[in-house]
């Protein structure tokens, strides 16, 4: 039967048994009777007219069932892949939104753009036939970098998008910022690149689609973070399938990190094709295919300026960014470098005036969209880097300049000049905690020890805040969201008192089956083992927006909390009848409904039983059953933050940067399960370290080919890249979520890149190095040291 395991405890995870024993149920594990195999034919060119496709040889190949192209899509009158956000420029002119056909029509715009779908009896036959497809391309000049793409003579991706600019977006009071800059005692300037990343969840994307003619129903199994949104976008806007005839299942999903929170063309093509061939179709991406089709992340080029007074107080911050969108607008694409970037440029500081301009630019690359952190790591990197630059230029200690500008704990709620109002926080507390945990006091000794081995040691800080818990629907609507971003949960109490929760978020590693069960166990007083969490199936779960933007606990957990409150409220009504007492006198505590001041009580199980076997039940005033549903829409974003301190050692002989210590003290609000929170922080930090030191998606500038197209070329963090990290929480409670939670999924990735690069720059500062772009690879550092033309050997 087990025990109540509540909020703050760290039970072992419910989901682990199946994963540890090889019994997970990932999409690629699913076999459907009579299934065929689908293979996508992708453009080998970055930019080309699609003159013609000759299917004949492919169709004649053994086992081939069908070959579908953009012409078939057009003939069937299918829709374009929708973008969920419509942003506008300062004058209110909407972004340019060219169509994104699920199979290319007329033109291909990136290496990997889909031109055909081949269906055969086996994957081998489909692959063979795909190679026989004769596609006539008329290759065009391509452009992959944002700086090049906005030049007047640049190749144009779309006829009606001049200079490839999708939107010239801005935020903040430009005049106030200019005025502050005129009065500044010092202006720090920084040009930087935020490197392009590929999310690389370990499970490649996959999908299976099936059409049942007897019921006219479609089922799509897909590696998605938001099956209901896929059902809505694909059914209503692309394929014109009624929602009740379309089931989307996202079973166990092997990591997402944003990569799986978009509606992909592959999903639409395979679902549409399943009815055409009247057979189930299975498609499993190879890793290489993922590299040229999974949405990429980041890719900014930025100029930033920080105005300070003579004491180092920030007066104004001005940021101009070119953000790469790739070849088309993906589901959240234009929202990421704008709404999730500009509003975070205040950071944890009292900077009174901020202006941000972002030119959102099309290029001949894979569409760019959210990747863990999404916009906020980019904002944090710009701000935390320029704070260090300003400190160095003004001769102020890096911790001291942060303290002088930090929002004091008492000043919350704090309205920033860039839309958002932080409800709670204690950046100084996080900073103090991290300074102690990182033993910064003894850094000088460690630096000297490194120097004695000929190594340069550096320390880097990142004091940051982010906005998550996507999202307050009204606020998001004003920013351009085309739909609300609430969440829903249903709590189904069975006649014997066990509980099944149906929730619209999706668990792909975050431990929801455990955390959400703890919330129910805590609130209803039922045993942890008696609660199961159901997610990822549109036939089983009412609705949901899915998991991204650190929203599952913040928004989904709040809906769940609300639904349990409704269960308790109904239980009280039933108890009041059974106990013959007034409803106001019924108390609920520790799984028991009792009459205040008496020993008369009914257990939760007894109430559940009474609800389902209504012999003695107030049928005239109350319906039987004990199942409640709640929807929750947050009133504000949540604002986790904290302080990260990285310590690196640079080997001047090879340029290798070794991360030797890492400390993070984060404010994530109420912690439901500290073990799971720690795991989220670890994973997030290492993804940020990956960005800072290893990862880079590189395109060849002349051909538009992706050079980092496999795990051999794109360097992922490995076990021996990392030291043991020290992570801790220093929580202030969110004032507007029911449990005070803030979310923890992305903080690590947001805080860490700046901490690591600040440490690298610190290690090299004695050589006159003021900035290092990411990733700080041995090659880049070694070249920097050669160009520094200063004595390389440590003293």
């Amino acid at each position: 039967m087990g025990n109540v395991i509540g909020i703050g405890a760290a039970p072992k995870r419910k989901e682990d048994q199946r994963f540890l024993t090889g019994r997970g149920n990932y999409v690629s594990d699913i076999k459907r009777p009579g299934a065929t195999a689908g293979v996508f034919v992708r453009s080998p060119h970055a930019h080309a007219f699609l003159r013609s496709i000759d299917k004949s040889a492919a169709l004649a190949a053994p086992g081939v069932i069908a070959v579908l192209t953009g012409d078939d899509v057009r003939a069937d009158g299918l829709g374009s892949l929708p973008c969920g956000w419509g942003i506008s420029d300062a004058k209110g002119v909407p972004m340019k939104e060219p169509p994104f056909p699920m199979l290319a029509q007329g033109k291909v715009r990136f290496v990997g753009d889909m031109v055909a779908f081949v269906i055969a009896e086996t994957p081998e036959q489909a692959n063979t036939a795909a190679e026989l497809l004769n596609v006539d391309y008329d290759v065009l000049p391509s452009v992959v970098g944002v700086l090049e793409a906005v030049r007047p003579d640049a190749p144009q991706l779309f006829d009606d998008v001049p200079n490839n600019i999708c939107c010239d977006w801005e935020l903040g009071d430009k005049a106030a910022v200019e005025s502050a800059f005129r009065k500044a005692a010092h202006v720090a300037k920084l040009s930087l690149v935020n490197n392009r990343l590929i999310g690389n969840p370990m499970e490649p994307r996959a999908a299976i689609a099936e059409y049942e003619p007897g019921t006219d129903r479609f089922t799509l199994w897909t590696t998605s973070q938001f099956p209901h949104v896929v059902r809505f976008l694909m059914g209503a806007l692309v394929l014109n399938i009624p929602q009740h005839k379309l089931r989307v299942v996202a079973p166990d999903v092997g990591g997402g990190f944003g990569v799986k929170q978009f509606h992909y063309g592959e999903e639409a093509v395979i679902t549409w094709a399943a009815r055409r061939v009247m057979r189930p179709i299975k498609w499993v991406a190879s890793r290489s295919e993922g590299y040229v089709s999974d949405r990429h992340g980041r890719d900014h080029v930025t100029e930033a300026e920080l105005a300070l007074d003579e004491t180092g107080k920030f007066l104004a911050f001005r940021v101009n960014t070119l953000a790469n969108m790739g070849g088309y607008l993906s589901t959240f694409g234009p929202n990421i470098p704008t709404n999730l970037y500009g509003p975070l440029l205040g950071g944890v500081y009292t900077t009174p005036a901020i202006y941000c301009n972002v030119k959102v630019v099309f290029t001949n690359t894979v569409p760019v969209d959210a990747y863990r952190g999404a916009g906020r790591p980019e904002a944090t990197f710009v701000l935390e880097r320029i704070v260090d630059v300003a400190a160095a230029e003004m001769g102020i200690d890096r911790v001291e300049i942060r303290r002088r500008n930090m929002i004091p704990k008492e000043a919350y709620p704090y309205q920033t000049p860039v839309l958002v109002q932080y409800d709670s926080g204690d950046p100084m507390g996080c900073l103090d905690g991290a300074l102690a945990a990182a033993d910064v006091k003894s850094f000088g000794i460690r630096k000297a020890a490194s120097a004695s081995k000929g190594k340069f040691r550096g320390l880097g800080y990142s004091t940051y805040v982010e906005a998550c818990g996507l999202a307050p629907s009204r606020f998001a609507g004003r920013l351009g969201a085309r739909g609300g971003l609430y969440e829903s949960a249903t709590v189904r109490v069975h006649p014997t008192g066990q509980v099944t929760v149906m929730i619209g978020t999706h668990n792909h590693g975050q431990g929801h089956e455990t955390t959400f069960a703890q919330i129910v166990s805590d609130k209803l007083g039922v045993a942890f083992d008696n609660v199961d969490i159901v997610f990822g199936d549109t036939d089983r779960v009412q609705f949901g927006m899915g998991t991204y933007g650190s929203r599952s606990l913040v928004v989904g957990g709040a809906a769940l909390s609300k639904a349990t409150d409704k269960v308790i409220a109904k239980g009280k009504k039933i108890a009041s009848h059974l106990l013959e007492a007034a409803e106001v006198d019924i108390q609920f505590e520790a799984g028991k409904f009792s009459v205040a001041g008496t020993d008369r009580m009914k257990t939760f199980e007894q109430i559940a039983g009474a609800a389902y076997v209504p012999h003695n039940y107030p049928l005239e005033v109350l319906e039987p059953g004990l199942e409640e549903q709640a929807y929750y829409d947050p009133v504000n974003f949540t604002y986790p933050g904290g302080c990260h301190i990285a310590e690196v050692e640079v080997d001047p002989e090879t340029g290798t940067v070794t991360l030797v210590n890492y400390t993070a003290v984060d404010d994530v609000g109420t912690v439901i399960n500290p073990m799971i929170v720690e795991g989220q922080l670890h994973g997030g930090i290492v993804q940020g370290v990956g960005q800072a030191l290893f990862e880079n998606a590189v395109y060849d500038e002349s051909s538009g080919q992706l050079l980092s197209g496999s795990l051999m070329d794109y360097c992922m963090p490995r076990a021996d890249h990392m030291p043991m990290m020290k992570v801790a929480t220093h929580s202030t409670l969110c004032t507007h979520t029911p449990m005070g939670v803030k979310g923890c999924g992305e903080v690590g990735t947001i805080g860490s890149p700046a901490a690591v690069i600040n440490a690298v720059v610190d290690a090299l500062s004695h050589l006159g190095v003021t900035h290092v772009d990411m990733p700080a690879t041995p090659n880049r550092i070694w070249r920097l040291l050669q160009n520094a033309s200063l004595p390389v050997a440590a003293e």
Binding site: K12, G22, S28, K31, G254, G255, Q687
Partner: protein, 161 residues
């Protein structure tokens, strides 16, 4: 062609195309989907199994190589059929939160067990070095390293009993 081998303790004979990879054979023909395929360059390690007691990446091994061999997959780690008893390494991963999405986990476990079998007194550096061929994107490796060290200690203790 026909091949015969011992799979998770049971004699097994199957008909395979000579070009079949062991990972495909396991997943597609034998329905043992615990062995995962995470890449196409033998980098990720999600497909690690034990061939004659040694860890190998089953995505780069041709099925005919199994003939006469002994193969252990994640499905063969547990106790007797029907029992829920887990291997000490599996227990350690659960105890120390050494997994999140679970996709890399079978390969991690198979590599970890081989590491521990090879060197009972594993250091942190040994573990980090030994896991170089297994990529995890979720955990940041920290809890995996802790799990492997604890699992190795438990395996050593179990041997002593």
């Amino acid at each position: 062609m026909q091949i015969s081998f011992t799979l998770n303790g049971r004699p097994t004979t199957v008909e395979v195309e000579p070009a079949t990879l062991v990972a495909e054979l396991l997943r597609e023909q034998l329905n043992l989907t615990g062995t995962h395929i995470g890449c196409d360059t033998s980098q990720c390690g999600a497909c690690v199994v034990h061939l004659n007691g040694l860890p190998v990446k089953s995505c780069t091994l041709l099925a005919p190589a199994l003939d006469g061999a002994t193969l252990l997959t994640i499905e063969g780690l547990q106790g007797a059929p029907g029992s829920n008893q887990m291997h000490p390494m599996q227990e350690a991963f659960r105890e120390h939160h050494g997994l999140q999405c679970g996709f890399c986990t079978p390969g991690m476990l198979m590599t970890a067990i081989a590491l521990a079998a090879e060197k009972p007194d594993l250091t942190e550096a040994d573990v980090r070095h030994g896991l170089e061929g297994n990529i995890c994107r979720c955990t940041g490796y920290q809890n995996i390293v802790v799990s492997v060290m604890a699992g190795a200690a438990a395996m050593t203790a179990a041997k002593g009993e």
